[in-house]
Symmetry: C2
Subunit: 363 residues, 2 copies
């Protein structure tokens, strides 16, 4: 074997030690960057001028673990509703602005906690500067959101990536001339590789906190893969301060996916985690059913617990032993493990009950 020189003395603790240093900004009470926990965002799909529907959706998102919420502000009618929405929700509110700076000025008057805009699609350059000055007075941050779709003539990567990064940095410099530094940056492309490269490049060129996401990621099954790779790869490299999974569909799934990504990388509380094997030809119990029933019966239970449901005696006992609670299946029965110790034999029919009972005891 060719033993290559290790490029690092140790590979472990990579994610924690290598996290990119960014400056902190505050979206309401939520700290973004500067070593803060990575926050999960989403965006409403209701008409913003329908205050009741918007508030109801935001409350649902908050309940699921969303920490910052954004709403579209396409009209002055929508902008004028923001104060009422804000007064009825438990989350910091960000106004998504396009084309018309007056909508942003009104949003700031209404008391929003942040503005998201792309200076490149605003009609008036001087209007953008007015928004920056108003945000400075209100002490709220602005996210500069450069999407691949907004770059004219960018074409495909590598040009596109360089153009996105240069464009965003030029906007930052414009804002800094007004002594405004409460900036977050996003560089979303619908191409995952371009998204990763764009964030990698800008991460090495400035210290602003980064809002991660893959844009236009498509329906849930496609988005789950694209967003997990795009956001996950960057987080695993220490890049990123706040995330939004973008999906065609109800935003609740975006929040769940965002949290799942953070959990998978150990960047959020685990909650109840069920690990289970892929049920090969060695499996003699109805594993899928058991996993689904255990998950359903423990849904909503708060606490951190890893439960391993394994189909056979090959990897089963090992995984079951490492988890807080585990079952390693045999033929119509399984061995129950608790905190690394084998406790007793359990018939298949009782597995769900026993796992749920033991889980509740441990939490």
């Amino acid at each position: 074997m060719i033993r290559l020189a290790a490029s690092r003395t140790t590979a472990t603790g990579w994610m924690m030690t290598k996290r990119r240093k960014s400056r902190a900004v505050y979206v309401g009470p939520v700290k973004v960057g500067g070593g803060a926990k990575i926050s999960v965002q989403s965006m409403t799909t209701t008409h913003t001028h329908d205050v009741d529907a918007t508030v109801a959706q935001i409350r649902e998102l908050a309940e699921a673990g969303c920490q910052i919420v954004r709403v579209a502000v396409p009209t002055m009618k929508a902008a004028l509703c923001l104060g009422r929405i804000k007064s009825r929700i438990p989350l910091p509110l960000v106004a998504d602005i396009h084309f018309d700076h007056k909508l942003a000025l009104e949003a700031i008057r209404q008391g929003v906690d942040g503005i998201r805009l792309n200076p490149g699609n605003m009609r008036s350059r001087e209007g953008v500067f007015e928004v920056v000055r108003a945000a400075k007075r209100a002490e709220i941050p602005i996210r500069i959101g450069v999407n691949s779709g907004s770059i004219r003539g960018g074409g495909k990567a590598p040009n596109l990536v360089k153009l996105m990064v240069d464009t965003a940095l030029r906007y930052c410099e414009d804002f800094e001339r007004l002594k405004f530094r409460d900036i977050k940056i996003s560089l979303k492309a619908s191409d995952v590789a371009a998204t990763i490269d764009a964030y990698r490049l800008i991460a090495s060129q400035c210290d602003y906190p980064l809002h991660l996401g893959v844009t236009a990621a498509g329906p849930p099954d496609t988005s789950l893969v694209k967003s997990s790779i795009g956001i996950g790869t960057l987080l695993a490299e220490g890049i990123g301060d706040t995330i939004r999974v973008s999906m065609t569909g109800p935003p609740l799934a975006e929040v769940k996916a965002g949290l799942e990504i953070l959990r998978a990388l150990g960047l959020a509380e685990r909650g109840i985690e069920v690990v289970s094997c892929p049920t090969c030809g060695r499996c003699e119990i109805d594993l899928s059913r058991i996993v689904e029933q255990v998950r359903a019966r423990l849904a909503g239970v708060k606490g951190n617990l890893q439960i391993a449901v394994m189909g056979c005696v090959v990897n089963g006992p090992g995984e079951a032993r490492e988890a807080d609670l585990g079952i390693a299946g045999g033929k119509g029965f399984g061995f129950l493990f608790r905190k690394g110790r084998r406790i007793r034999k359990v018939p298949e029919k009782q597995m769900v009950d026993v796992l749920v009972q033991e889980a509740r005891k441990l939490i």
Copy 2:
């Protein structure tokens, strides 16, 4: 702004230029490593001794794009079926062996294209060496599969990662003393961060091709996130030669997810890709329905095409212009784009028909 020195002169083309150099092995006709395309694997869930069911499942996997298939070989009865299975399937066949080296010897006699085993759970050390000698004579590769669950006393990362890597490298050295080098390595943990770190570490220490996967990743929704992050992060860093998504459930979904991961990173043909926006409060058309219907009606159509279905005039025209085919929605209508040019206005009701028609024309 603090302009940091760029750590690379260019961030683009990262994935292609940085791909780790590995030696090549062949699983049947499929080259793994040595610059070959990344292959997608899966594993059957049927009883291997049920030859008809196993063959049927393998054919279904092959049809979906699977390139290498593995079957569990828990008994001599199963081992004795491998030749019959192999003669009826279009894919190279890998035998998954635990505990008993005689099962591996029989599998090799039956003509399998590869063996997967974990020397650490085989009852006889001398038996493993017999398998290595038999594989050498048969000129088939062995995957050394070290799973986190098989490491006794490993505990949690960072110890676990180092132990997994050291264990795998020690097995490699054992095999090399028998002049056997047709080795692939996998280091699967159910913890995503540990999986990533283990592969990163071993990638820097040897040149054997790596089989990527997150083990016991759980049911589809969880596995999709865990596997996309684990496998995707490594691939985006240039690490990995063949992949398997592991899911509790039917293996067809594993193959689809594996291909989706490769596509997202530009490592496989794109196929028909629908990008679509997350439908915020600016969207005035029924986007989810349109996306689902377009996908359903183009399912099974061969060819490479990117279709953008966008809900509004903000990012819509940009994305629609970059795609091969696109719709940017307005209120009850949309603009059709083809190869970057705006073609005409289309009423919402006709969007699905028009997109499907245009897609068929372009392919």
